[in-house]
């Protein structure tokens, strides 16, 4: 198997920005809650840093969601598309 470029091979997508906005949390508040520096939240939201499993689990636990609802190896569909998808729409 060919070696993937580093950026593609290690990319983990997340819904952190959406979840943080939904809960009306500042980066500092979320950072304090999960025990990281506030800039790390920015790096995670911009997907410039992929968290370790331990941090991913801590974040999922904080939002009381399964880890796969917050992190994915595939890009997440936009929230509007997920919410308003018509029955029978196979997109």
């Amino acid at each position: 198997m060919g070696r993937l470029p580093k950026t593609t091979a290690e990319q983990v997508h997340n819904r952190l920005a959406v979840l943080r906005a939904e809960r009306q949390l500042s980066r500092q508040e979320l950072a304090d809650a999960i025990g990281v520096h506030y800039q790390t939240i920015g790096y995670l939201e911009r997907q410039e840093y992929s968290p370790t499993l331990a941090l991913a689990l801590r974040i999922a636990q904080f939002f009381e969601l399964p880890v796969e609802a917050v992190f994915s190896l595939q890009p997440f569909a936009p929230m509007s598309e997920s919410l308003y998808r018509q029955p029978g729409d196979t997109r």
């Binding site: 025990g35 990281v36 520096h37 790390t40 920015g42 790096y43 370790t52 331990a54 941090l55």
Partner: protein, 165 residues
């Protein structure tokens, strides 16, 4: 980041100092990418000046140049929030990862520079070619060059490369 043991006053004080450094806002004016890069260039020039002053035995220039390099070192450390130096338990996993990566680059760069410098001195000292011998001043220059680079390179690389510090 691990929580400090509240029963240990030394650990609590260290955690407080580390948190103050990581959340510092006094040097935000220096944290814009352009100013950070200017600071890295200034630090490199200060190191070069210190080494040159030591090499030529210019004591009048050496101490001010060393003070300049020391000042640049201190400012760089503040600008990158001590990311290159704080103990592991006081920084989060991203900072540890970025730091490890930059220490690797710094190690490679320093090894290369020291190898080049010693090779150049070795070749120049070969009596059959140039007939020059390194003296105390040249060893002095090598010592300060290695010391300053070893201490400053990780912070210089962090200041140069990071999108946000």
């Amino acid at each position: 980041m691990t929580k400090p043991d509240p029963r240990d006053p030394r650990e609590t004080a260290m955690a407080r100092d580390a948190a103050a450094m990581l959340n510092d806002t006094r040097f935000d004016g220096w944290r814009a990418a352009r100013r950070r890069r200017l600071l890295v260039v200034a630090a490199a020039l200060a190191i070069a000046l210190t080494v040159a002053a030591a090499w030529y035995g210019n004591n009048l220039l050496f101490l001010p140049a060393l003070a300049l390099a020391g000042g640049a070192w201190w400012l760089l450390r503040q600008v990158v929030r001590g990311m290159a130096d704080l103990p592991d338990e006081f920084v989060d996993e991203r900072i540890r990862s970025v730091r490890n990566e930059h220490y690797l680059y710094a190690y490679r760069a320093l090894s290369g520079l020291v190898a080049l410098a010693t090779l150049a001195m070795y070749l120049a000292a070969d009596a059959t070619r140039v007939g020059w011998q390194p003296g105390a001043d040249q060893l002095h220059a090598l010592f300060w060059g290695v010391l300053l680079l070893a201490g400053m390179l990780p912070s210089m690389l962090l200041a140069w490369s990071q999108r946000e510090v």
